[in-house]
C-alpha cells in the first residue's frame, strides 16, 4: 500500500510516496538519490547506513520510511551544507579513513557524540563509535581525530602539505 510521507531531509521539506514496507535506507538511496548512507549488511550490524533522525543517529536499514513522517533526517549531504565541518577537516588531517566506505556513518556518529558530550574521554569515544564497523583503519586514527578536535589530542596529524 502506497502512502505519502512528508519530512525534512537535510533541511528541505520533501514529500514522497512510499510502500508501507519500504526501508528508509532504500528510499534515501534509490528514490531520493542520497548516496552517502551505504549498504554494508542490511541487518543493523555495521553502521554504514547511519543517518540522523532529529539529531540522533539511527541505522537507516532498520527504519521504515513511514516512521520518519514529520521528522528531520540528516545525512552527510546535509552536514556538508556549508562545506566540511571542523570534525570532517580533522578526519582529513588524521587520515581517519582508508577506503572511505564507513566514513559517512563514522562522521555522523562522531558528530552526534560531540554534540551531546563536548568533552568525551577515550572510552566514551570508543563506545560512541562502536556501532560503526571499519575494517581498514584499526579505529585509532578516528579516535585520535576526535580527541584532537576536542583539544585532548597529542596534536599529531596536522598541517599536511
Amino acid at each position: 500500500m502506497k502512502k505519502k510521507i512528508t519530512f525534512l531531509l537535510n533541511s528541505e521539506t520533501r514529500s514522497i510516496e512510499v510502500e508501507s514496507g519500504d526501508i528508509l535506507l532504500d528510499v534515501l538511496r534509490d528514490k531520493l538519490g542520497i548516496k552517502t548512507p551505504k549498504i554494508g549488511c542490511d541487518m543493523g550490524d555495521c553502521g554504514s547506513c547511519t543517518v540522523m533522525l532529529d539529531g540522533k543517529t539511527v541505522k537507516s536499514c532498520l527504519v521504515l520510511a513511514l516512521e520518519v513522517e514529520g521528522q528531520e533526517v540528516t545525512t552527510l549531504e546535509g552536514l556538508m551544507k556549508d562545506g566540511m565541518t571542523p570534525l570532517q577537516q580533522t578526519f582529513h588531517d588524521f587520515n581517519s579513513f582508508q577506503c572511505g566506505f564507513c566514513t559517512p556513518g563514522m562522521v555522523l556518529s562522531a558528530t552526534e557524540l560531540i554534540n551531546k558530550n563536548p568533552k568525551p574521554n577515550r572510552k566514551e569515544i570508543q563506545e560512541a563509535l562502536s556501532g560503526n564497523l571499519c575494517r581498514c583503519t584499526g579505529y585509532i586514527p578516528i579516535i585520535e581525530a576526535v580527541e584532537d578536535l576536542i583539544g585532548k589530542g597529542k596534536g599529531e596529524g596536522k598541517e599536511k602539505g
Partner: protein, 792 residues
C-alpha cells in the same frame, strides 16, 4: 641521503576530500536509470550433488521476471590460474551457496521472490568437508575432470585425486640432518577459514548493448584482469577484448577479497542474456561470506632440527590446505606459501610439500597475507618452542638464524638486501624484551611474544604495470593508471612519485579510478606490489615526460640539454641562472618562435614496468632453478599481553611492528597500514572463526555471529617502526608493505600466551575459552584459582 621534496613526506591523501565529503562513489552508488534490471541467485542448498533437474516454470510466470538463466546458457569454464570454475553450476554443485541459476527481474524484490520458486532436484553425493576425508585413497572426486583443466605451467595437479596442486621444495638432505641434529621438534598446527569482511559488499552491473559492447561496473581490485577473464570466458559469444570494458569506481575495502574474478562474472554473463538492458547483481552480507573467496584453512605439520648452539639445520613443513570447491585463485596461495614456508630463516636442508586440496566448502582464495599468515602461525610457534627447549632466548635464537642478504632461498635464488637485523633489534627494544614484567593483579599474567615475518609478492613473472601521464594547460596533471585505490593510499603515493620527478605538487595531480578503455594495463592491485610495480611505471612516465620537455627546450630554444633541470614547476639551466621557463607556458601550447610558428605540443608521458628477471619455471620435484619471487619485505613484530587467568581474556597493552619498507614514500600511510593490518590480524587470533555445520553450511555468515573488531577492541598502543634498506629496483627504493602488517599477529600472541601461562595453543583462534580449557587440562587452572583465592 637524497633530499626529496615530496617523497618521504606524509602528504595529504589525494582521495581525502572525496571520501570525507561523501563525494566518493562506490559501485552500488551509480545510477542506471529506470531500465535497470536486477538479478537474484538460486543457490545450492547442498554441499555436493549432481543436479538432476531445474524447473523454473513457476518463476518465469511471475510478473516482473524478465528471464531465468542456468548453467546450460553458459557452459564455459574460467579462472585466473586454473580454469576450474563455472559461471553457473553445470551438472554438479560443490558447495552450499553455489550459484545454480539466476533470475533477472524488473526489481530486486521480485527477483528474490522468483528465485525461491525455482525448483532444483539434486542427487546428493557424500560431501567432503575436511582434508583428511579428501585425501583418503577412495575419496569421492570433487573434480573428476581435473586432469583436463587448463592451468599455469607452475601448477602440478594430481589426476584422479582431490589434490589440485602440489608445490614441492627440496634442498639439501633433511633425513640426514634430522639424524645428526642435537634436537628435533615436531608438531601440528591448525588454522581455520576466515572472511575478509570489507564493509562494502561485492557488486556488479553489466550492460551488453546492441553494438556488441559489454561494459561491466564492478567493485574490484583487478579491472584489467577482470576484463581479460570476462573476454576469455565469453569469447564463444563473439566478444573480443576490445569489446569488453570494465569500470571500477572507488572500492570499499578489498583485502584480497575483490581480487581476480568471483561473483562479477555473473554481472558480465547475465548482461549478455538481456541485451540492451543494464543488469545489477549485489551480494548480501551472507553471500559476501560464503560466495566470494574465503581465506583457506591450513593444517601444518612441522619438523625442525637444530644444534646445541641454536643453529637450525633442517625443516620439513607439510602444508595441507583446505582450498574449497574451486581453486582457480587459491592454488596460487598454496604455491606461494610452499615456496616461502621456511620463513625468513637460513636453513640448509629443506623439505616442503604444500598441498592444494579440494573440499566441498566455499572457494578459498587470496586474503591479505596470501598464505603467509597461516604458515607463520605454526612456524614461528615452533621456532619459539625450539628456542625455549634448548634454553636460548627466543629473540637471540631468531637473530642467529635470520636470513641475510645474499643467502640462498629455499629455491636457490638469492635473498635481496634487507634490514631484518635492524627490525629485530628495534622491535625487541620497543617491547622491552627481556624485562620481566608482573601484573599487580595476581589474577593477571603478563606475557611477551616475538615473531619475524616476511612476504614476497606472489605474481606471474610477467605481471606488469603501465601509466599515462597528461599535462594540462596550467601544468596540472591527470595520471591514468589501473591500480586500485582500495584504501591503502595508492593514488596519493603515485601522485607523490610524479610530483618528485616533475616538481608539480601532489595537489595539482589527479588520479582517477580505472576504466579499462582509457586507463592502460595493470595486472591487479594485490600482492602489495602496486607501490613497487605501478610506482615504477608512474616514475618512468614522469621521466618520459621530463625527457620530452628537455628535448623540446633544446630543439626550440637552443639550450644545452645536459644543463637543464626542473624546479618549482619550471625548466631551469645550470649554465644560465637567469633561465626560468614555467611548465604551464608550453606543456600544451608548445613554444612559439619569432616567425609565429610553434614547436612541441601537448606533453604526454608513458611508463611501463615488468620485472623481466622473474621466472616461474623450475624443477617440479625440487623448485630449484627459477626466480618466482621478485623480492621479500621482511620485519619483526612483538607484543605484550595481559591474560586474565580466570576468564582467559586477553588485553593488549602494546604491540610493535618493525618492517623494512625500503623507502617510506609516505610514512603516515604506512602507519595506517600497520594499525589497520595489525588489528585485522589480531582479530583472526582472538575471535574470528568460520563455523560450518556437518553438512558444509556456513553457520555464521553475518557480523552478529562472525565478530570483527569494533572501536572497543583496539590495543592500548601500537608502535610502528619503519626500517629503510632500499630496494634497488623499487621507486625511490620502496617495496610493498600492505599485507605484511597482519602476518605476524598469530605467532606473537601464541608466543605471548605461552610466555605468560606456559601453555602452547596450536590451533587458531586462541579464544579465551581455549585458554581456560588448556589451563584446566594441565591442572593449571585450579592452581591459578587457588593462587587467586590465597591472594585475596
Amino acid at each position: 641521503m637524497t633530499n626529496y621534496k615530496y617523497i618521504g613526506k606524509s602528504a595529504a591523501r589525494v582521495d581525502g576530500i572525496a571520501k570525507i565529503s561523501g563525494a566518493a562513489r562506490f559501485v552500488d552508488d551509480l545510477d542506471f536509470g529506470p531500465n535497470l534490471l536486477f538479478a537474484a541467485i538460486v543457490e545450492s542448498s547442498v554441499a555436493h550433488a549432481i543436479i538432476e533437474k531445474i524447473d523454473a516454470s513457476e518463476a518465469e510466470k511471475m510478473v516482473g521476471v524478465v528471464k531465468v538463466v542456468t548453467g546450460k546458457d553458459f557452459p564455459y569454464r574460467f579462472g585466473l590460474y586454473m580454469h576450474d570454475r563455472y559461471i553457473l553450476a553445470q551438472d554438479r554443485v560443490r558447495f552450499v551457496g553455489e550459484q545454480v541459476a539466476a533470475v533477472i527481474a524488473r526489481d530486486p524484490k521480485t527477483a528474490k521472490k522468483a528465485a525461491k520458486l525455482v525448483d532444483v532436484k539434486y542427487k546428493e553425493l557424500s560431501p567432503i568437508l575436511n582434508i583428511e576425508e579428501a585425501l583418503k585413497e577412495k575419496s569421492v572426486l570433487i573434480h573428476p575432470e581435473l586432469k583436463d583443466y587448463t592451468h599455469v605451467p607452475w601448477f602440478f595437479p594430481k589426476a584422479n585425486t582431490n589434490v589440485a596442486h602440489l608445490r614441492k621444495v627440496r634442498k639439501g638432505d633433511t633425513n640426514k640432518a634430522f639424524q645428526e641434529a642435537d634436537f628435533v621438534f615436531e608438531d601440528t598446527y591448525t588454522v581455520p577459514r576466515y572472511a575478509h569482511c570489507a564493509i562494502e559488499v561485492h557488486g556488479a552491473i553489466g550492460l551488453f548493448d546492441h553494438s556488441g559492447r559489454l561494459t561491466v561496473w564492478t567493485a574490484s581490485q583487478s579491472p584489467h584482469t577482470q576484463r581479460h577473464l570476462f573476454a576469455e570466458a565469453l569469447a564463444p559469444l563473439g566478444l573480443s577484448h576490445k569489446d569488453v570494458r570494465v569500470i571500477t569506481p572507488y572500492v570499499g575495502g578489498g583485502f584480497g577479497g575483490k581480487a581476480g574474478v568471483s561473483m562479477e562474472i555473473l554481472g558480465a554473463a547475465l548482461a549478455t542474456a538481456v541485451k540492451g538492458n543494464p543488469v545489477k547483481i549485489l551480494w548480501s552480507r551472507a553471500q559476501e561470506f560464503y560466495n566470494t573467496y574465503q581465506r583457506q584453512g591450513l593444517t601444518a605439520k612441522i619438523k625442525l632440527s637444530c644444534k646445541k648452539d641454536g643453529t637450525i639445520t633442517a625443516i620439513q613443513n607439510n602444508l595441507f590446505w583446505d582450498a574449497g570447491a574451486y581453486v582457480e585463485y587459491g592454488a596460487n596461495v598454496v604455491n606461494a606459501a610452499g615456496l616461502s614456508a621456511t620463513g625468513p630463516y637460513r636453513i640448509p636442508n629443506i623439505e616442503i610439500n604444500s598441498y592444494c586440496i579440494y573440499t566441498n566448502l566455499p572457494p578459498g582464495g587470496p586474503y591479505r597475507g596470501f598464505g603467509y599468515s597461516e604458515f607463520l602461525f605454526g612456524l614461528e610457534s615452533q621456532i619459539n618452542e625450539a628456542a625455549k627447549k634448548i634454553k636460548m632466548d627466543p629473540v637471540e635464537f631468531r637473530k642467529k638464524n635470520a636470513i641475510r642478504s645474499g643467502d640462498k632461498l629455499s629455491y636457490g635464488a638469492s635473498m635481496n638486501q634487507s634490514g631484518l637485523a635492524e627490525a629485530i633489534e628495534k622491535a625487541a627494544e620497543a617491547i622491552e624484551w627481556g624485562k620481566d614484567e608482573k601484573s599487580n593483579d595476581p589474577q593477571k599474567a603478563i606475557g611477551k611474544g616475538f615473531s619475524l615475518f616476511w612476504k614476497a609478492p606472489a605474481m606471474p613473472p610477467n605481471a606488469s604495470s603501465t601509466a599515462f601521464l597528461k599535462f594540462n594547460e596550467d601544468a596540472s596533471l591527470n595520471i591514468l593508471v589501473s591500480g586500485m585505490e582500495i584504501g591503502q593510499g595508492y593514488q596519493t603515493v603515485m601522485a607523490q612519485i610524479a610530483a618528485e620527478v616533475l616538481t608539480v605538487p601532489p595537489e595539482k595531480i589527479r588520479i582517477e579510478n580505472p576504466d579499462t578503455d582509457r586507463n592502460p594495463y595493470e595486472w591487479q592491485t594485490v600482492a602489495s606490489h602496486v607501490t613497487w610495480g605501478c610506482g615504477n611505471a608512474v616514475k618512468r612516465a614522469a621521466e618520459d615526460a621530463r625527457e620530452q620537455i628537455f628535448d623540446l627546450i633544446e630543439r626550440a630554444l637552443d639550450k644545452d640539454r645536459d644543463s637543464l633541470f626542473l624546479k618549482d614547476e619550471m625548466v631551469m639551466s645550470k649554465k644560465e641562472p637567469g633561465f626560468k621557463l614555467p611548465l604551464k607556458n608550453f606543456v600544451i601550447a608548445g613554444i612559439g618562435k619569432d616567425d609565429g610558428t610553434f614547436r612541441g605540443g601537448p606533453i604526454v608521458g608513458r611508463g611501463m614496468f615488468m620485472p623481466e628477471f622473474a621466472s616461474a619455471l623450475s624443477d617440479p620435484e625440487t623448485s630449484q632453478g627459477g626466480k618466482p619471487n621478485v623480492h621479500y619485505t621482511v620485519g619483526a613484530s612483538a607484543i605484550k599481553i595481559e591474560i586474565d587467568k580466570e576468564t582467559g581474556k586477553i588485553k593488549i597493552p602494546k604491540v610493535v611492528l618493525a618492517v623494512d619498507v625500503g623507502k617510506a614514500l609516505n610514512p603516515d600511510l604506512i602507519k595506517g597500514q600497520v594499525t589497520g593490518g595489525l588489528l585485522q590480524g589480531i582479530a583472526t587470533v582472538l575471535y574470528e572463526d568460520m563455523r560450518f555445520d556437518e553438512k558444509g553450511k556456513l553457520l555464521n555468515p553475518n557480523f552478529a555471529d562472525y565478530k570483527i573488531p569494533t572501536a572497543m577492541d583496539i590495543p592500548d598502543e601500537i608502535v610502528s617502526i619503519l626500517v629503510e634498506v632500499p630496494q634497488p629496483d623499487g621507486p625511490f627504493g620502496a617495496r610493498g608493505v600492505g599485507e605484511h602488517t597482519m602476518i605476524p599477529a598469530a605467532p606473537i600472541i601464541a608466543n605471548a600466551v605461552e610466555d605468560a601461562l606456559g601453555i602452547r595453543i596450536k590451533s587458531m583462534p586462541i579464544t579465551a575459552e581455549k585458554i581456560v580449557l588448556e589451563l584446566k587440562k594441565q591442572g593449571l587452572f585450579e592452581q591459578t584459582k587457588e593462587e587467586y583465592i590465597d591472594n585475596k
